[in-house]
Symmetry: C2
Subunit: 357 residues, 2 copies
């Protein structure tokens, strides 16, 4: 069955604006999504007020019934999740593990897709980055993110706390296959595996063997391997060398924030939590957090959320509409006056106007 | 007992040049160490030919008897360890886990000290880094480096491989205390904890609680906390903000390579694997690897090894001699002609000559 349309022909979209700037940037992403949607394509939105506010008011993070409803949608657009730092009523991990990661795990978002480009005219921290255009395929359902582990004698001098990284041949193979297929479709056809095989020998070994095995099926794809620490160096000294990177959940988390930083900031970094098998809705969200310090002030850059909406359209098969958003963003970025701050809604309006043509 | 001198008054130094450029850079580090040593301070060197070559020839990585001998020294100077990439006779991890990490763990090097400075005149990838001078205190004996974990049904579609990060109150507290004491001694008195408390909730919780508890004893030290992914961003956009960073073994591995990259490259990054209790010899080594591609060609920059020798002298109580090496390095770096390559030995000679005055 084609999961991208309902009987009425509308695309059912679950919208989770979340906390802080998540609300503001989602408004702009939806604005641009409406304008960009091809003639005849309608979005039927359901809004879910999940996040810190709901948790603090009700103790609810993600009720099973809500998860059940969300499952019935074609895609999810998420803003950002997270409360004020060090809020004693909001222990770290409650929302991250209970909401964001629960969605990624329950909906089997095993491909966490994070493209990085240096857009023309966008200032960044590197003096001479070259032409940067790569995509990180971050594994999304395993590794140190599984929530395995525990703690013993908590709060005593004898406390022992563990975190278990779980890596399965099943989980590694499917994401590695996805990455090879993506590399094969790109002009440079290059795939880099990033891991730490010299220390994490068990996990590293299964990643390495499966990477080699699948590589044999893709003779046109050039492969290389890099330890995560070495990747830090290349990402800052020669980021243009990367085309597709495949890596585990935690290394992917780390490397994509670095990628965002060097390509002009977290305000531009989009992501898709994708289930390529399409048995569940995929989820699209900016890489940035909820930034409570600037929330509600129309100071956030909604571009990352807008680009996430573009990834959503692309995933649903509307490649032209997705490309139109990206083009509008590129134009908007190139037209920015350095030092001139625009309001969140102004940026959204400007991009929407360009999409409308 | 004072572990820094023997009956004869000489400092007993175990030298492990290791593989590849490790050999060349160690020669220069020893050259400078000799020149820098205060009058009356003698080094009695024992050389241990451990590394890829010995392993490939004999199957030996670190025989217990050799470890026993090394224990009897006052300090260890190590070059770099590691064979050719993808050598089928040298599975990943054999040397790293069996030699380098075994030394760090058996000798209880719980403080892995990695200073980062942007030296005047040294080019780096950042357009406008500001004044960068921080030190990373990386935990050295726990975390995902413990070698816990294993694999089931290896090589089948049902393989499961795990890596267990082990974190104890004992291990976290001692390294956090060391970091606070260091921060207290520095002019800016700032300490940043880097972790991923929102996902790795068990490990994150013990780090966070102990960090808060020890902070209460250091009212003059300003503290903050950053997730490892956010640290990627600040490290590239505002590295000057950091003073002392304390973090776990894996995050420390990652962040210190990034730190090396932004401060002018891995050719300058020194480290000390320190046991502050002085019950075993501490070990000093450049952060870089053995770089087999340029080995034996006198192309490696020995500066990181030379600066590691400076850390060694400082650890043994010879702060003035250590500072003299650092000053000589700063002068040498400032005097470098951009684009003019010098041989490994030329750089060592130049630094030694400056130390000699
Ligand atoms: C908020 C957090 C759980 C999340 C992650 O670690 O995956 C975020 O950093 C991201 O990269 O999407
Ligand atoms: C070689 C490797 C085991 C080592 C580490 O991961 O600690 C190295 O990268 C380092 O940083 O000293």
């Amino acid at each position: 069955t084609d999961s991208t349309s309902t009987a009425s022909g509308a695309i059912k979209l679950a919208v989770i604006p979340g906390d802080g700037i998540g609300q503001e940037v989602t408004t702009e992403a939806l604005k641009v999504l409406e304008v960009a949607s091809p003639a005849g394509v309608k979005f039927e939105q359901t809004r879910y007020d999940l996040g810190a506010e709901r948790y603090l008011a009700t103790g609810e993070v993600l009720p099973d019934s809500v998860l059940g409803e969300i499952r019935e949608h074609d895609a999810i657009l998420l803003g950002a999740v997270g409360g004020k730092p060090n809020d004693p009523n909001l222990p770290p991990g409650i929302l991250e593990r209970g909401l964001l990661l629960r969605l990624r795990f329950e909906l089997d978002h095993y491909v966490n897709l994070r493209p990085s480009r240096i857009f023309p005219g966008v200032p960044g921290p590197l003096a001479d980055p070259g032409e940067v255009d790569f995509v990180v395929v971050r594994e999304g359902t395993e590794g140190p993110y599984t929530g395995n582990g525990g703690a013993l004698r908590v709060g005593t001098p004898h406390e022992v706390a563990t975190e278990v990284s779980v890596n399965t041949a099943f989980g590694v193979e499917r994401v590695v296959r996805d990455a090879f297929a993506r590399a094969q479709r790109r002009p440079r056809k290059k795939l880099t595996l990033v891991h730490k095989t010299n220390v994490l020998v068990n996990a590293g070994s299964v990643w390495w063997r499966i990477f080699q095995a699948v590589a044999a099926e893709y003779p046109e794809v050039t492969t290389d391997y890099m330890h995560i620490d070495a990747a830090m160096i290349f990402m800052t000294t020669d980021p243009a060398r990367f085309d597709v990177i495949v890596t585990d959940n935690l290394f992917g988390d780390i490397i994509t924030d670095l990628a965002a930083a060097i390509t002009g900031g977290i305000g531009l970094a989009a992501s898709g939590n994708v289930n390529p098998d399409r048995t569940t809705p995929s989820m699209f969200e900016p890489v940035h957090g909820s930034a409570p310090d600037i929330a509600g002030q129309q100071k956030a850059d909604p571009t990352a959320a807008v680009l996430s909406a573009s990834l959503l359209l692309d995933h649903l098969g509307h490649a032209d509409a997705a490309a139109a958003i990206e083009t509008a963003v590129v134009e908007d970025l190139a037209a920015r006056t350095p030092g001139a701050a625009r309001r969140t809604s102004e940026i959204g309006d400007a991009i929407a106007a360009r999409v409308a043509g």
